[in-house]
């Protein structure tokens, strides 16, 4: 049965890759290229959140803070201080990771509800800082004129070029994460999720592993933030507020908390709802465009009540058991 399952998984991944390569061409789905760049960026953040919530069982309600830190450090260094954008991205990822490491140890002495509130508080503090430190961040009005990324003379100045850059980074991050889950670290994380006491008794340093994943998820979010500002060339506090953290959680929940590939599904679904479907509906009736929050709230409640493993994983499991049943029937007849 495992072989059949794996065969299907390979086929699905191959189909997805072909789809992703063809998508930005004008004769296919070229008009979605710009949106797809955002979906790729959101997927990167969501993968970090999945590692943290789905695999390790720790909640972060402030993931948008790390996303914003990456965005702002990149924007400020590359625009105000003329630092090379790649170097700025590296500095952003390193400093965000270091920040997550420093706060990680005290924060992960907390559990469950308290951890959720502490990360929520952290997210709101960072949002206040983004807004108030106007001399660096441009305040609520934001700052524009951030340079494009470039390699040698090749500038990523069209959505088409940035699409391949972002999805390349995204796939690299998927590969790294997949490898980590199958490694010693991944097994330790799942052990922590199942029972912290049991994990500790077989020699897993629980706090250390939690902090490790927390730092990794913060670095992912920071890289995504850097890509975000070099795509949009503009940064303001609003995409990093509390609602942004909730939106990211919704993506993780739709993707199935413990599924790396599901993150793409989650990010794409949520982005399509908020940036395409509701915008279309908004042209019919302006009030409908604001419904995204209501829909996300409903999704969060319904998925968690009826499919606690997440939408994508539940659908995949249903597909697997359907195939298993069919295969068994084949053996009998």
């Amino acid at each position: 049965m495992e072989v059949i399952k794996r065969k299907w998984a390979y086929a699905a991944v191959a189909a997805l890759l072909i789809f992703l390569i063809l998508l930005p061409f004008d004769w296919f789905l070229g008009r979605y290229t710009f949106l797809m760049v955002f979906i790729g960026i959101n997927t990167i953040v969501t993968i970090g959140l999945c590692l943290l919530m789905g695999y390790t069982g720790q909640v972060s309600l402030g993931q948008a803070a790390f996303f914003g830190m990456g965005a702002y450090v990149s924007a400020i260094l590359s625009k105000t201080y003329d630092v090379n954008p790649w170097l700025a991205m590296l500095i952003a990822a390193a400093s965000t990771g270091a920040f997550a490491y420093v706060i990680g140890y005290p924060v992960f002495r907390l559990k469950g509800n308290y951890l959720a509130m502490a990360t929520l508080g952290l997210g709101i503090i960072m949002y206040i800082l983004f807004r108030q430190m106007a001399q660096y961040t441009g305040g609520p009005d934001g700052m524009g004129g951030i340079p494009y990324l470039s390699i040698g003379g090749f500038v990523f100045d069209t959505p088409f070029r940035r699409y391949f850059l972002v999805w390349f980074v995204c796939l690299v991050i998927i590969l790294i994460s997949q490898n980590m889950i199958r490694s010693r670290t991944g097994r330790a994380l799942r052990a922590i999720h199942t029972s912290e006491a049991a994990a500790q008794s077989i020699g897993v340093n629980v706090t250390q592993f939690k902090v490790k994943v927390f730092v990794l998820s913060a670095v992912y979010a920071s890289v995504a933030g850097s890509l975000f500002v070099h795509h949009l060339r503009f940064v303001s506090p609003q995409p990093f507020d509390f609602l942004a953290s909730v939106t990211l959680i919704t993506m993780a929940v739709v993707g199935g908390l413990a599924s790396i590939w599901g993150a793409i599904f989650g990010a794409a679904t949520i982005k399509l709802i908020s940036d395409e479907i509701l915008v279309e509906l908004g042209q019919v009736n302006a009030k409908l465009a604001d419904l995204d929050v209501v829909i996300f709230g409903l999704i969060l409640m319904l998925v968690m009540i009826f499919m606690p493993k997440g939408l994508f994983v539940s659908l995949r499991d249903a597909f697997d058991s359907w195939r298993k049943k069919r295969a068994l029937r084949g053996v009998k007849s």
């Binding site: 308290y114 709230g297 009540i305 606690p308």
Partner: protein, 292 residues
């Protein structure tokens, strides 16, 4: 700082602190009985204020009737939240329950925005607008209403928990929810009652504070957070500890804003509560870890 200013900041701290205490009482009530942190607690406060305004302004009902109806509707929402969402997910993990109540909060807030727009809404003050002079400070009569309501509500909760059968059953659930069914207490029913009471408390808070602070579809986020801080200072146990936590937070905030820190002014007021929260959580993390 002169003596007059000192009294002024103290009074404004006490008023804000009373608001936080009222919100915190809702958190404590639900957590003590069900071990759930209700991230939608702030939305009950918003509903209390906004519904009072809508009933008064659009339906033209008298102020007192509007407030009573608003509080009752909010209580219904609380019951619906427990009955439809929390109870359906009975075997859910911590993570799931947190996500469910966040989903509920975002949902309620979104609906409020759709229905009533984004403008701040006022309620008329209960006893006029003329400030009272007290020890050199000016006190808005609504501030007295807020402080008075908090005292009355805290007393009512105390007597309810100590002297009524239902109250004692709630207390039993909070002490040991596994043993409570052995003496015939239904924990599900108690969960429902806790959510209804928390919604009532939140909505009362929203209605009493709206004349002074205005209300808006999104007041629930910060108020919920401050209420949570108040409840954490109190350790989610007795109503009095929560009230003390709320008042402490309000006074600290008020004086922190009063101290002029150059560029770090009132814009950072909300950050103060969060820093207090993080400090408390860290200071008590060992104890909290044992309870969890």
């Amino acid at each position: 700082m002169s003596a007059d200013q000192f009294v002024q900041y103290l009074v404004s701290g006490l008023t804000q602190g009373s608001i936080y205490a009222l919100v915190g009482l809702g958190f404590t009530m639900i957590y003590a009985v069900t071990r759930i942190i209700n991230f939608a607690q702030g939305e009950f406060v918003m509903l209390g204020g906004m519904l009072s305004f809508v009933l008064l302004d659009s339906a033209g009902l008298p102020l007192a009737v509007s407030i009573v109806l608003a509080v009752l509707i909010a209580a219904l929402v609380g019951a619906a939240l427990q009955f439809l969402a929390i109870r359906s997910a009975k075997q859910a993990s911590h993570v799931s329950l947190i996500i469910i109540t966040i989903g509920a909060a975002v949902f309620i807030r979104g609906i409020a925005k759709e229905l009533w727009g984004v403008d701040p809404r006022p309620l008329p003050p209960f006893s006029g607008d003329t400030s009272i002079r007290f020890l050199g400070a000016f006190i808005h009569p609504q501030a007295l209403w807020i402080i008075g309501t908090t005292v009355v509500v805290a007393l009512a909760v105390h007597f309810f928990l100590s002297y009524t059968t239902v109250g004692k059953a709630l207390k039993a659930c909070s002490v040991n929810s596994a043993a409570a069914p052995l003496v015939g207490i239904d924990p599900k029913m108690m969960g429902l009652i806790a959510f209804v009471l928390a919604a009532l408390l939140g909505a009362i808070c929203g209605a009493v504070t709206a004349p002074l602070t205005l209300t808006r579809y999104d007041v629930g986020i910060t108020l919920g957070l401050k209420g949570f801080v108040a409840a954490s200072i109190g350790g989610f146990k007795s109503p009095w500890a929560t009230v003390a936590g709320g008042v402490l937070l309000g006074v600290v905030e008020s004086f922190a804003v009063a101290a002029d820190w150059g560029p770090f002014t009132s814009a950072y007021k909300d950050a103060i509560a969060l820093v207090v929260l993080v400090l408390i959580l860290l200071a008590r993390s060992r104890k909290l870890a044992e309870e969890d």
